[in-house]
Subunit: 318 residues, 6 copies
């Protein structure tokens, strides 16, 4: 069965979906209705439930699973699901929330193994100890949180998945440019977004915490590194360098880094971060686009509308 | 005797001066010479010592006091001191370094008293305790450091003097706008630039430390607040709010604050900081300007050249 | 009774309101309706009157007072008033327009007294005469106009109220910084926005005049000062300095001041203007926000959403 | 004889020149010298007079005419005149200042005639009267002042010459686009820079007046128009429209116009002003450049270095 | 009969119109409807066709002509046509598509004659040959395409009409400034936007081609010039200069020209292009505005709302 | 022997150097001298040759090799070589120009082999044919030209070396992100800067050609691709896609790409280009810096001064 975001206008739909959001409204004629955002792993779609009474409002709340029959139509340039029938899922349906939530394509355990391996390869004991300490401290959240609330890697375990992709690139690049210090670069990558576990509310229905709003993940993480160094009684340039890498990884003051990268590894960290984020954004939007067509405009890609060439070979992932 | 920066072209000079900087050079004709920056409390002036041998280089080092006879001439639009005679000061001259260094016009003890009074007026015990703890920890440096290496309050005790001027304004403003929380505003002002004691090297010949270059005073201070809270075992919104005030006091990302002010008191702190800094810059440059004239261009004032009106009344400070 | 903007979703409403705006519309189904903006002193709210015939259109015109029964619901993230019953107010209801319009919290006579006192304190006779002349000429409008059509002090007598708040700050600041010329600063504050009485249409339902659109209040006021000087046969630097203060009070070319502040008092005028405007904006939006919550985004505050701390003490205005 | 700016490196020079600027300096070896800026109608050149005593300083003052023998050499990428012999001109030399100062290529009387003709063609009596009044009031200065202190039309009578070039273009353009109001456009062109007669100090050695610095020519001219309307007892939209055209002729706030052009004729005025200024700048710099070469960088042309094609035909002015 | 865009709210309409766009929609209540964009030569207007079945969808397709009876009402600040009756035009109605499409006010043959004359006047044989060759190659499209899809000259033959207006201005300007090379300027104008015939899809319902999206008309045209030179076996600076003029005609990198104008004629081409485009935009929007009123905001005119003076004389086109 | 740029102040120097530039000057005292820029493979240094007569000027011309004895001193913050003895190299010295010119650390033949291998791996025959054709056409220059005149890879064979580094990164990245089309990315990298062989004058003493100045390497290369396609009689999307990749590789209009990257591979090409250029810049400046020190400010790195950590391990290249 095709995911809900891959359905085309006119397609008939009959499937289970998870309610992501439910908002009550009133028609011009004064009748109540519900605007539902329904999701499966492929993404989400809007649907209207007309003449929805108080009962319906209670029944169709966020995190509820529903079975829906209907078809896809186009409303102001976006697909909508027109509901013909809807009912809450029951125990006998045998469906669970996990089936409807997107998460990283690699298992948490595997990601942890890989991460451990990268830390193991470090030669500078201070950097290694500090990194291991912080990964251990935040291990559970680090493996479950998304990398952002939207734009890129905004799925369960997106943070760890993003970090591992970056580490793989870093491995190649340090081989090509031997002047780079591998320990600094690996540790910087592992720590750069770890503050997200304090900035964001959790792996699903993610919002910003008060700390996140008032300080942000960069500042939160620098505090964490400072505290870790204190607890481990570590002194030396390493602590300062890692704090600097986290501080500068957005690249410019206007992008949120009060200091620009001032060491080689910080500059490269910034590049790798961008490269992996952009690849993720582009892949997602191109996946939903036919060869020979342009994608919708993507705000986080400077509002560009990308083209999907027709020449992509058969055996290429798209 | 007029200070060295108030001498005009053609004036004869015979006075003691402190060597701030001494750089060796070679004339086009291959002869060695020294470029000396000489200062008294009014500021500094450049002078050339021609045909300066190795002996001279040793004798005329930074922090040495010299007696100079010469006159003022203009070189490329700036005043220079042409040296006719120069000799190192001797014990019998009875001059000491302190006489040549500018410092705040209020004694350190008095500033500490005033500061203590402002802390005493706070009603929120958490804010009070945290502020008192940090003032105590950095007391000596806080009372001696400049507020910056150039532009404004760049003199001994300039940091404390700047903070106290801001507190005086804050006192008036909280009376006029009772919706402001006085405790937050006072504490924010006291802490906002305290990170300078780690960012800068010391009260004289001030440069940036490695921490200052790689992290900056804002980040350093947020760490300090976090650590202080930990040591005092303080939790609660107050810690977060004070960290936010320090973080946001430059007002915008492109000016070095990754988060803009998000609470009322943070916004007002930003305004008061600017107001006091600008007053200090303007006063200094206008002091050296005659009524009816324009000042030199001042880079930190958006490269403006200010006008000094002729109508200023007699009894007005200028 | 709570003001209309303090009602929550679900609240029942039965009160008199003033129609601020009335616009005819057609439903998708071709039926006419009215969109009403209804206001009391707390602010305004939108309401739809369905199936509104020509009679209704005539009856429910701007400036009419109506009695409305209904309840509050949420439409696209904003509160709306759902009308159950509506009727025009009659003479016997004993309500008048003044009750529904917000105005400054200080009486016009009191503001005039305070203003007169500030002018009285001036020592420079030229500045004093010019200021007194212009205040007298525009006295009635100056005491009744708002300071803007939106964003800050957009209420009856907002202009004079804004000017007086600024004068109070100026008084404190000139005491703290004696190098400032009090006469220039006071006069600059009093005159800086006086051109609004020509730029804007009047104290209520305020729009821009043709002069306002094509020249703006700054240019209009500089003309006024020039003309006043001519009528009073005043010459001298004072006229030029006051014109410059008005010209430069927006601070930068891109904000509408072709010359930046070039005298100390003009710079400080710009700061005080900003400080008072921002305080007014922040107070208004925070008043409608619960402690521990963020406000809606405010465009004129660089689109920020401010946080209202939970620690505000009981006896603090919020 | 070639003008001084057309001499090449190595050329011998023997001619009369006017001293535009004279500045005393001191060599590294402590010897006094004079830096002279010497000019004829083609432009100016720098020269050093070594070992210049007090006598020389008095003798070689600005506005003095001198006879110089020497040759051209290159110093840091710019031509300099190396002086071999120099003496002040005497009465018997029969030279006068006017011979060394550049001025518009059309006589003042002819420009006045043309200007009168354009005013004569206006059909709207209010616009015509106002324009005639202001031209009459400032006639002498208007015909003698430069259009700027540098960049374009910075020569005697440059202002009137610039205005007439613009009027000629306006004549063509109003024929091609009959929707344009000729009276507004002509009057706007004539008045747009007339405030320069108050902003600038005079036709030669031009600097900014205090009014020019604090208010600028745009604001000064709007005052003039307002006052003229008052004196002539003129009311009506015409006054406002002309003030708007002057106010908006720099096109954008950041270029000094607080209001952008809001009427068609104001927009076109802005374009014509730019076109004529750019043509003047380009012609001057290309005149000194050989075909197939690039010009020096010109700051006012966005720092471009223009190319002079080799294909320009013989009979084309270059 | 007034054109459809000149009808006012409340006017009854009974006329033939061309369907420019037809989009199916679903009301909140689940009923299908069509949103039609209907046009005549004066422009277009939106209309809703309620309860539109599949039959209607087929009948009312783009490029179909319909007879409509209805009236004008206002929906969210824009005029809409409320349809009372609608039917497809039949053969017996005797109407054809050409009657509903705006095109240049000059016949294609006349434009070609004028163009030929301008090319004939060129003296440089290389420039003339190259220009003639390219005009000939694209003659049909060049005479039929619009100059853009929106903003200015977005009508049939708009491209040629824009080019001819520019040539007329160029003729005047080369007379006023004889230093300009007429051949370069004329050829640059003729070629500057010729790449639009590859960038755009055709004279009506114009969209961007894939080449247009990925390369743009500037790059496409430079290729064309290069190829033409190759075919004609032309070498020399002329080819390079014309390519440069096309490349730089947007004036700045951020406006799409990787090189700014580096020859005098390129700079002037840029100015003339802007002037004619702006005149076209302003004339169109002012035509629909009453004297004494402001126009709607126009995005391509920096979002300005222009004023139409009341003083325009009777015999002036508006 | 240490390269000339690695000498410290005070070091004695006795070595052969190549004259890169020779400029005649005149001292203040009127004596002629030569400013020589002398280079070896490590970079260049300035030196003054005092009292240099016409003979010296002829003898010490660019491209001449000289033997110099002298020492290093500091002049205005930069190292200078003070010449004690200098003489032209003679045949018996056995030195040749090649010894003094920096070039890529890989031999041209090896680079060509690698390049051929990358082309060999392409699967799309059109892309492969087009790329091979263009490499063949420009093979000699492509293997010898620098990648730029300054900032990065500004040495002999820098262009090919830069391209190969990029290809190596691309190889890794296409393995990590299988959605990328390897053929497009490889071909885009190989062609992206190939236009430099027309934009620049040659492998040494590199300047811009007229084509380079007026059109730039991007436009020149798009022409080349178009022409190659014509010659090979190739049609299809591939040509357009490769032209787009070259066109967009600077990433943004203000950086010289009129179209931003609109296909995934173009975006990644832009990133890889930046990454390799930045690595090259950083490596060069850090090589000349001691651990624990900051580098000089580098304009092309946003004027940053980079820090070289002290923790770099022994066996790490720096």
């Amino acid at each position: 069965m095709k995911g809900i975001t891959f359905q085309n206008v006119g397609d008939n739909v009959e499937q289970f979906l998870l309610i992501k959001q439910s908002t009550k409204g009133i028609t011009n004629a004064g009748k109540p209705f519900l605007t539902l955002i329904l999701q499966d792993r492929s993404g989400d779609i809007e649907a209207k439930l007309w003449d929805a009474g108080d009962e319906d409002e209670k029944r169709y709340h966020p995190q509820a699973i529903v079975k829906v029959t209907g078809d896809i139509h186009n409303y102001r340039g976006k697909n909508q699901l027109r509901i013909r029938q809807i009912r809450p899922a029951t125990a006998s349906d045998g469906v669970s929330i996990g089936e409807f939530i997107e998460s990283a394509p690699v298992a948490k355990e595997d990601m942890l193994d890989q991460l451990t391996q990268y830390i193991f390869e470090m030669k500078n004991p201070t950097i290694q100890r500090l990194t291991r300490h912080l990964v251990k401290k935040h291990q559970k959240d680090f493996l479950e949180y998304p990398a952002a609330t939207k734009n890129h890697h905004e799925f369960v375990s997106g943070l760890a998945y993003h970090v591992l992709s970056m580490l793989h690139i870093a491995k190649s690049i340090t081989q090509l440019y031997p002047s780079l210090n591998k320990d600094l670069l690996y540790a910087g990558i592992i720590l750069h977004d770890m503050g997200k576990v304090e900035e964001l509310s959790g792996p699903v229905s993610t919002t910003y915490t008060l700390e996140g709003n008032l300080l942000g993940h960069i500042t939160l993480m620098i505090n964490e590194i400072g505290q870790a160094a204190k607890e481990l009684d570590i002194q030396g340039e390493e602590v300062l360098l890692l704090q600097h890498m986290v501080l500068s990884h957005h690249g410019k003051a206007e992008w949120g880094s009060p200091k620009p990268p001032l060491i080689r590894e910080a500059e490269i960290l910034h590049y790798i971060d961008n490269l992996d984020a952009k690849m993720n954004m582009m892949d997602r939007v191109l996946k939903r686009t036919q060869p020979g067509e342009f994608t919708e405009r993507v705000f986080a890609l400077e509002n560009r509308s990308l083209y999907k060439p027709t020449i992509y070979e058969e055996n290429q992932e798209s």
